[in-house]
Amino acid sequence: MAKATRQAFGEALAALGETHPQVVALDADLSKSTMTCYFAEKYPDRFFEMGIAEANMIGVGAGLALSGKVPFICSFACFVVGRLDIIRMSIGYTQANVKIVGTHAGIGIGEDGASQMGLEDVAALRAIPGMTIIQPADEIETKQAIAWAAETEGPMYFRLTRQKLADVNGPQYQFQPGKGVVLAEGRDLTIFATGGTVQGAVGAKAILAEQGIDARIVNIHTIKPIDRDLIATCADETGALFTVEDHNIIGGLGSAVAEVVAETKPVPVKRWGVEDVFGESGTPEGLYEAYEIDAKGIAKHAAAFVKSLK
């Protein structure tokens, strides 16, 4: 069933509240959007409304973590990561066990437009030493990743969607941090997708097959530390790598994949996503279509990439 990953997160966090007394949640006046409202309702003493003051929320989260709590600090991706120096110092350098949750990531937020679209958050946080970055692709992956985070020490960032995402993993799915997930085999190229673009990548496989292109589809939920082995293997076995993300193509998944193959197994790489522009208002589906990161757009650009190599 299609579900927004923020919704899956909210449900997972509320469930963790019961089993993990050290888990606390903080929000910056967006609890009904980030879905920390479920946790807040069940565990009011362990929920801290911090008002529209993200910098302070980040620091308070660090202080709670340094006192043994496991804080999930939540806002829109652009707002929380926008306070980068606070994350750098109070969480990163301090090695505070804080779980940062940025929802409404990318152009997928839709109608609110560019000012609310986190399109640089992954790029910014990849440069923070020790920061794990996870962008789950569906409900089951989100719930398992959040449960894992609650029991795993270290600063983390979760990048979640406002929009609903179709299930791409089966009911037997087991989340493995740091490991990419091969959703479909293929020989002609590998399409690496993450978060909101994974369902489109899965859809693109059939369109590409009609054109005689056999695409391998890989879901990269952990962008840092990235699955270097799988990327090198895919480079070896398919000879061409295409990445797609609802994020600026500078500094995100595409850059991470390109860095790995440049240093291990140089093969052609095409980074696709939001091409170093700000977003704009529109429906989430309409924007994915306009920016050509839906199934049709991914297939179009992946096919052009394959043809360019011949």
Partner: protein
Amino acid sequence: MVFQLTRDIATLKKQANDIRIHVLEMITQAASGHPGGSLSAADIVSALCFGVMQHDPKKPRWDGRDRFIMSKGHCIPAWYAALAKAGYFSEADLISLRQYGSPLQGHPDRVRLEAIEASTGSLGQGLSIALGMALAARLDKQTHRIYCMIGDGESQEGQIWEAAMAASHYKTNNLTVILDNNNGQIDGFVEDVMALDPIDAKWRAFGWHVIAINGHDMEQILRALDEAAQTPDRPSLIWAKTIKGKGVSFMENIPGWHGKAPTQDECAKAIAELRQNQF
């Protein structure tokens, strides 16, 4: 074993004087650092470390300890000196300040030095961390206090006021903030760079209990720290009026000594002055 505190004024003043001497030696040896703000903070640091805070040099992360965060992280040499004198590490190690491989980083680093509660140095951030610790202590029904020292120049950071608003909202009476109001910052006098007055009215308006003191009067410092601890319904701000470079005649109230190391000769002259003090 919990550190044996004292309320003897002469002893605490002598400790502050020793902290000042260490600070000058450390910064001179490092040939870089910020003497002015460490010297203005020395009396308050002495009162906290040797007179008020529950802590254990043998167990720096003892759960029941009072916490101290130096939010104005460039003034950490004063706290390093106090930690050494309390027995956390050898006083001889102090001159490794700012050297490659030393746990005594130029700004405090809790990963490299166990006795440090929070890594600071990018101004404006320590108070939020202190507030998080205060909320955690309340959740866990712990009785220790959180102390945080901020600077007046640092108070130009917006995050200080975000934290001030939130601490008051949450009525964290286990949080004491000491404002080291030495009126100096890198570009000059605070009142010229970006005026803060009226400081007390601002903090009161944010819902804090404000206690104004002379930050070099040991009796006033102790009384203020006690009053803050007994304030039941809100966090307290100790507004400590201080002198930048306090204790060294040629440094006092000269903004240039914010971030400049003394030469060997200047250091010797400054320490000679401090050694003349009687307690």
